[in-house]
């Protein structure tokens, strides 16, 4: 008996696992699966690619550069001057309806929002409305954490300090009458940014929360006065501010400025006619060879216009089809010698 026991302790377990005999699925990429699979995938991709391309082509985009680096351009005077709130205006004409909903973007180029130090230069706790960080901003905000008189800057950091501060108004001239095109500034930032990630301190009035702090150096107005027209659009949850704080991935980027309010005449988009954009030119970009532009675009289910996806799908779809043809040839070539 004892012997048997010792045997059972010494003898390896005879289980599928220990004996490496677990039942296993042994897939084989056989031509019988791969060729039809490739044809199917290829056709599907070509289909998607065509759809994407058509969609992308149907998206209307209007880009207007207003940097003013060439002398003839409307904003050249503003770009050279250092006057705050320099005004200039841009005209464009639509011959057909610009299908709505129309989005109004501003674009910057050669602007490195993805610069590491720049990106780190903010204090998320402050922006979350934590008052204790108002008085002592994070050191990552340096050199925009305290002003020259050692007062804390709120919101601190490079990103906030460099917030885009050109403003635009759009007017539509039709039959000699000039109408202000209503621009909707709500919902241009991520919902979660607006509602959760950024918060104003729960102090009323908001202004009191900022006691003892100063506004960022480049700002004309403190954070709690960003939007005079809408008191709820102030502080850290100001939509323009939120849009700016979401750093762009690449040095040439566009950010959502406004949506054309789809009401009245603009229900279907921007009707044909002459338009004028009045620009309050504040934001200097020529120092780093940057450029500024205004983009009007409508979007589809896939977002803004982007031909890359459609082309990629078309190319890869056809690649799959070609490859399945190649494999068929290989099949035909190698099948017969094997039959011998």
């Amino acid at each position: 008996m004892v012997k048997q026991e010792s045997e059972s302790t010494n003898r390896p377990d005879n289980t599928a696992f220990t004996q490496q005999r677990l039942p296993a699925w042994q897939p084989i990429l056989s031509a019988g699966i791969v060729i039809p699979g490739f044809v199917l995938i290829g056709l599907a991709f070509i289909g998607i690619g065509v759809a994407l391309l058509v969609t992308s082509r149907s998206i209307q985009v209007l880009e207007l550069d207003y940097t003013g680096d060439s002398n003839g351009s409307p904003c050249s005077s503003c770009s050279q001057s250092v006057i705050a709130n320099c005004k200039c205006s841009l005209n464009f004409t639509l011959t057909t309806l610009f299908q709505g909903p129309v989005f109004f973007y501003y674009g910057l180029s050669n602007y490195f929002q993805n610069y590491r130090r720049y990106g780190a230069s903010k204090d998320d706790n402050q922006l979350y409305g934590d008052l204790s960080y108002f008085t002592s901003p994070s050191s990552s905000c340096s050199p925009y954490d305290y002003d020259s008189s050692k007062k804390p800057i709120v919101p601190c950091g490079s990103i906030a300090n460099s917030m885009f501060n050109d403003t635009f108004t759009l007017t539509w001239t039709v039959n000699g009458t000039t109408n202000n095109v209503p621009l909707d500034g709500k919902g241009i930032a991520w919902w979660t940014d607006y509602n959760i990630k950024y918060r104003n301190p729960s102090v009323t009035p908001l202004k009191n929360a900022f006691n003892g702090t100063v506004k960022p150096i480049n700002w004309a107005k403190p954070a709690y006065e960003l939007d005079a027209s809408d008191p709820s659009n102030n502080g850290f949850v100001n939509q323009d501010f939120l849009v700016w704080m979401r750093r762009a991935a690449l040095p040439n980027f566009r950010k959502l400025y406004r949506r054309i309010d789809a009401s009245g005449d603009y229900q279907k988009g921007l009707p044909a006619g002459n338009y004028t954009i009045d620009i309050t030119y504040n934001y200097p970009v020529r120092a780093f060879n940057g450029a500024k532009k205004i983009v009007f675009s409508n979007v589809s289910w896939m977002g803004g216009s982007n031909e890359f996806l459609g082309i990629a799908y078309l190319v890869i779809g056809s690649l799959c089809v070609v490859m399945s043809v190649v494999m068929l040839i290989v099949y035909a070539k190698f099948k017969f010698p094997d039959e011998e």
């Binding site: 005879n14 990429l29 780093f288 990629a312 494999m327």
Partner: protein
């Protein structure tokens, strides 16, 4: 296991000089007024590395000595000190993980060593103290203790023999575990100490411990009743070494002189050198490449950064001013810190977690060896043992197998198989057959007579009983039952199964186990050798009468004559000469008409792998005898040329004999030895037999194992072939070497055709013996030494099998070392069971111990231990192959996945002003290797069976496909690297094109940089996981679980990580980024298309690769397997099979 280092700590250098004085039994001696008990180390054996207390610091130190760990530590420190893009946690956490896992593993292994140490240290020994016997633990033995050791016990420390239970003051010892010599050695007691050990008053003065086993100098002062102390000199013959075993002696008493780490055994122990596998070397080479890539990446980025900054307006745009501190620091210092920052940013390219995964894979994977029930041997009730898990994959790379013969290839269990008397074959059948167990199984074809005459039979058996030098073992009281059976090494052998119970305890001692087998064979047939008493040999014959023969002369065996004779006189006064020897030496000396009848049997027996001996006899007339007698006496007294003279007399006597018959003795091969050897050779492994045995024996074993085949041409380089008239041995050696070299190397077909050669072409077998080998290796410098060695090696390497006989243990290791260091540094494996194989087991890349009968020395020093030789086949062809493929894939995959992980991050630097902006979030950077992609590859590397084990075993040639580190050479590495680069480019630029318009949602909102990184990362995780899925040929539920599980985990984690505002984070970078990404159709589409694009070439490759290479190989497999139809299943080319199978169903 025993560390020399430790020993050095214990035995301080100053104590080494001079001598030590030992008080026997700790009794103060009259001469010394003041008794100062000297301090020596205790008898503890310490092979463990750590104690509970020093484990942490010592283990950490050892771990950080590894280059990789040190590198990560440095990266970590850089992150802590310098302002770097990623937080120290990103590299600290994986490093912590690595260190912890390794520490746990090493701790576990050390715990095992502690256990083994304890087994030795807690062994109970008997100490004589004040006339009483006290049981003590072995570790408590102190120098000066008087110990009692009983038969078959090993000595717990080095002892001076004081008293023996044998009358003559001797004891017998085997030192098999020390030097591998398994014969009995005689040791002597110190004179005058014999009688009264209890009251012995003596001191021993001896040298300090030194490792030479055969040197010992000391003297003993014996004090008796105030007499002048008598002095006795002590030499090695008085010293019993720890590790040696007492034999044939009931008990001895001895005084401990060296204990613990100061014993000669401990001093002699070579610390197990760290064996590193080729895979590890490959890893290091690859690592170097990646380190270069890393450094150049960092350099490129640093350079670009400063080039970019030198352009006006770029260095410090107004929106991103530098801090005061940055402005003030020196430009070059800045450059340096930037460089470091880039290093940190890209450091993930060198996979920390690879080391962990590799370690885990090895550790866990090795369980499959010990779990394998095929390795379980029901006889010893044990399975395989894995002593190190570092060499699993090396088992798949073996090119040379060095095997011991006795006990490894053979069972070391000589058995009398059959004999042939006058051309009639007699085969012993078990007791169930005729009463005397003697029956005719096969007669010569042309004779009617069925049985040889009775008197011929009896003559033959008498010859067997008389013609030998066997001694009967004195049966001791302890020697009952199993005791008598233990010692088969020494030729003490009792076949308890067959012999009648009366004779069960009868043991025989002889220099050669063959003789015992013969005597026992005769015993089975009714003639029992009772022993030799004062020149009289007694035989118990079939009728149970005792026959007496006076032994007149023994004409000893020698390898040149290859026969031995005895001259005896029977009671009736007849003088008889019995002679037995190799057929070649007997046949010319007997009457020719008798030869033919026997020759047939002998040849058949020889080809069956039996050792054959022919037996002849001769009546000597009185005159003849007188002549011989005087001749022998004269020759023996001769002072000059005694050997030659004796030989001449021998040759003169041993002529004109009558051939009686022949015997066949089998040294039984291990189960399936031949099949195993054949499989190994089929796998392209060269098998070398290294044995201390005689050439003939070894050769016949080689034939039996089918290492030599019938058509194998044997090239002999032995003392015998060197013996040629009129030539110096050296010249002859030179000639032979050149001749063989010409044959095997120069005339051999060029390498190209040899690869594809089939086995019908000439095979060569090479035989060399120890003496010749040492001539080759140590050939005096005047004969250009290198030439010989090279020639020898080249010959050996071109032979299918090599037999080295008459090898000393050290020579075995020398051979292994020579091959190991030869060109191409082939992977060697040594397999053996005895202590004499330890040196070669330690020397070879992989050492395998057989859990045989010769003790556990080999097992303890081996890397793997298996119960039987036959298990080697599965160990190499099955486990080894799989382990290699698994780990090779693991390594390549790891480098690949980290390359395509980091490449996008590198590329991103071109688009963010080289500001070290990480592309991925810190959590992703950290988790990528630990969580998201580590488990699938670990599961793959544990469970993958690209070819089923059965197929691997059936088709030995498959082993060649992975030979020479095939999967880790630069070719495959380049392939994987290019794949990684391709994937990295696809990931980054695919998304880059997408982000030319960052408004990717249907609400017009734009995505930011973290979205960019997350999309790239999602594609990355899915692609590398699916790439592995494509490579997986063997999907167990674990693979499914782990592959789909880690993808699911990634998605789940990303949601979770982005779904909560984490209070401990300074920046909530990823807040809802993942969820937002998923809400964008474009992101989905780009992820799908890029994954497919990345995998497309892989799929194409998998599908198209198959028809060519392996198919051709497959044909070779079939032809080389000698017509054996290899099963046409999974080894067949993938595409071919599926095509043809389909076409069958279609048409």
């Amino acid at each position: 296991m025993l560390r020399r280092r430790l020993n050095r700590w214990f035995g301080g250098e100053d104590r080494r000089v001079g001598s030590r004085t030992i008080y026997v039994g700790h009794r103060p001696c009259p001469a010394n007024e003041v008794f100062i008990p000297p301090k020596f180390c205790d008898n503890r054996i310490v092979s463990s590395k750590y104690t509970v207390w020093n484990f942490l610091p010592k283990n950490l130190f050892e771990q950080f000595r590894r280059i990789a760990n040190f590198y990560f530590l440095i990266i970590f420190l850089v992150q802590v000190i310098v302002d770097t893009p990623t937080s120290p946690v990103t590299s600290g956490l994986p490093l912590f993980f690595v260190i912890t896992v390794t520490a746990i593993k090493q701790g576990y292994e050390d715990w095992l060593r502690h256990k083994a140490d304890n087994e030795v240290n807690k062994y109970r020994v008997t100490v004589l103290e004040d006339g009483r016997r006290i049981q003590k633990e072995s570790e408590k033995i102190k120098v000066g203790d008087v110990l009692e050791v009983e038969e078959d016990e090993t000595f717990p420390c080095d002892l001076i023999l004081l008293q023996s239970s044998r009358d003559d003051g001797t004891c017998f010892v085997t030192t098999a575990s020390l030097d591998g010599e398994s014969n009995h050695k005689t040791h002597y007691t110190v004179p005058d100490t014999e009688r009264d050990v209890e009251s012995l008053n003596a001191t021993i003065e001896c040298e300090q411990p030194q490792p030479d086993l055969y040197k010992f100098v000391g003297r003993m002062h014996i004090y008796k009743n105030n007499e002048e102390p008598s002095l006795r000199s002590l030499g090695p013959e008085n010293l019993l070494l720890k590790g040696a075993t007492l034999k044939n002696t009931q008990s001895i008493c001895g005084v401990a002189v060296y204990t613990g780490m100061e014993t000669k055994m401990a001093l002699n122990y070579q610390g197990k050198s760290q064996k590193r596998s080729v895979v590890e070397k490959s890893i290091n080479a690859f690592l170097l490449v990646y380190l270069c890539i890393l450094v150049s990446k960092a350099l490129v980025c640093t350079t670009l950064k400063y080039v970019w900054q030198s352009k006006p307006g770029q260095d410090e745009p107004w929106y991103n001013e530098k801090t005061l501190k940055e402005k003030e620091t020196n430009l070059y210092l800045n450059m340096f810190t930037d460089f470091l920052s880039f290093m940190v940013l890209f450091n993930f390219i060198i996979p920390v977690s690879m080391y962990v995964t590799v370690e885990m894979q090895k550790f866990l994977g090795s369980f499959f060896i010990s779990w394998d029930k095929d390795f379980f041997d029901s006889e010893i009730e044990e399975g395989a043992l894995v002593n190190t898990s570092d060499l699993n994959e090396e088992l798949g790379q073996v090119e040379y197998v060095f095997t011991d013969k006795t006990g490894t290839l053979t069972q070391n269990n000589m058995e009398f198989i059959e004999c042939c008397i006058d051309g009639h074959q007699y085969k012993y059948r078990d007791a169930s057959s005729e009463v005397d167990g003697f029956c005719v199984t096969d007669g010569p074809m042309n004779t009617v007579q069925q049985k040889a005459g009775r008197e011929r039979e009896e003559l033959f058996l008498r010859a067997l009983c008389l013609c030998h030098t066997v001694q009967v073992k004195e049966s001791t009281e302890q020697g009952q039952g199993q005791d008598g059976r233990i010692d088969q090494v020494d030729g003490l052998m009792v076949d308890g199964q067959v012999v009648p119970p009366l004779q069960e305890q009868r043991g025989f001692i002889a220099s050669s186990p063959d003789e015992i087998a013969l005597v026992q064979g005769a015993m089975r047939y009714g003639f029992t050798f009772l022993g030799l008493e004062s020149k009289t040999m007694k035989i118990l014959n079939r009728a149970n009468d005792v026959e007496m023969y006076e032994l007149l002369h023994v004409l000893n065996f020698d390898p040149v004559r290859r026969r031995m004779s005895v001259i005896v006189r029977s009671i009736s006064g007849e003088t008889l000469l019995f002679c037995k020897g190799a057929d070649s030496s007997i046949f010319p000396r007997v009457k020719q008409e008798e030869v033919e009848k026997i020759r047939m049997h002998v040849e058949r027996n020889a080809t069956d792998g039996y050792r054959t001996l022919c037996v002849a006899y001769k009546h000597l007339t009185a005159e003849e005898y007188d002549q011989v007698d005087s001749g022998l006496r004269e020759a023996r007294l001769a002072l000059q040329d005694r050997e030659e003279k004796l030989m001449a007399v021998y040759n003169q006597v041993e002529t004109g004999m009558n051939l009686i018959g022949a015997t066949a003795v089998e040294d039984r091969l291990q189960e399936e030895a031949a099949e195993t050897m054949e499989a190994l050779q089929g796998a392209g492994i060269k098998v070398w037999v290294l044995t201390g045995d005689k050439m003939e024996t070894a050769k016949s074993t080689c034939y039996a194992c089918r290492l030599f085949k019938r058509n194998t041409e044997l090239l002999e380089l032995t003392v015998r072939t060197l013996e040629s008239p009129g030539k110096r041995r050296e010249d002859r050696l030179h000639d032979l070497l050149l001749e063989y070299h010409k044959k095997t190397v120069q005339d051999a077909p060029p390498a190209k055709t040899r690869v594809a050669r089939n086995w019908s072409s000439q095979d060569y077998g090479f035989i060399v013996d120890g003496a010749t080998l040492s001539m080759v290796l140590n050939s005096s410098s005047e004969n250009n030494l290198h030439d010989y060695k090279d020639l020898f090696l080249q010959i050996c390497q071109n032979c299918t099998s090599v037999l080295c006989c008459r090898m000393a243990p050290l020579q075995k290791a020398q051979i292994v070392k020579m091959v190991k260091n030869s060109k191409g540094s082939p992977i060697t494996l040594s397999i053996g069971d005895g202590a004499n194989d330890v040196s070669m087991i330690l020397e070879a890349h992989v050492g395998i111990g057989i859990k045989g009968k010769e003790g556990r020395q080999a097992v303890r020093n081996s890397d793997y231990a298996i119960p039987k030789l036959k298990h080697l086949k599965k160990l190499l062809l099955g486990h080894g192959h799989l382990y290699y493929v698994r780990i090779a894939h693991l390594v390549q995959y790891f480098f690949y996945k980290n390359l395509c992980f980091i490449l996008p991050q590198f590329l991103y630097q071109f688009f963010c002003g080289c500001s070290q902006q990480p592309l991925y979030d810190a959590a992703y950077l950290t988790m990528y290797n630990i969580c998201f992609t580590s488990m699938p590859i670990l599961a793959y590397s544990l469970f993958e069976q690209h070819i089923s084990i059965e197929m691997l075993l059936e088709n030995a040639t498959l082993y060649r496909q992975i030979g020479k580190n095939a999967m880790l050479r630069w070719g495959p590495f380049l392939y994987w690297t290019l794949l990684g680069v391709f994937h990295g480019l696809v990931f980054f630029f695919g998304v880059w094109f997408l982000f030319s318009n960052p408004a990717l949602q249907d609400n017009g909102q734009a995505f930011g940089n973290w979205s960019y990184g997350t999309i790239v990362f999602t594609i990355l995780v899915f692609t590398v996981t699916l790439k592995l899925a494509l490579d997986t040929r063997h999907w167990t539920w674990i693979n499914h679980f782990v592959i789909w599980g880690s993808l699911a985990f990634y998605v789940f984690f990303s949601f979770f990580w982005g779904g909560v505002i984490w209070p401990f984070l300074r920046q909530q970078r990823l807040y809802f980024v993942f969820a937002n990404m998923l809400s964008s159709v474009s992101a989905w589409l780009v992820i799908i298309v890029l994954i497919l694009l990345s995998l497309l070439p892989e799929i194409l490759y998998v599908v198209l690769r198959k028809p060519r290479g392996p198919y051709a190989r497959q044909k070779l497999v079939q032809s080389s397997a000698g017509g054996i139809q290899s099963p046409r299943s999974s080894a067949r080319p993938l595409l071919m099979r599926t095509f043809s199978d389909e076409s069958n169903t279609v048409s």
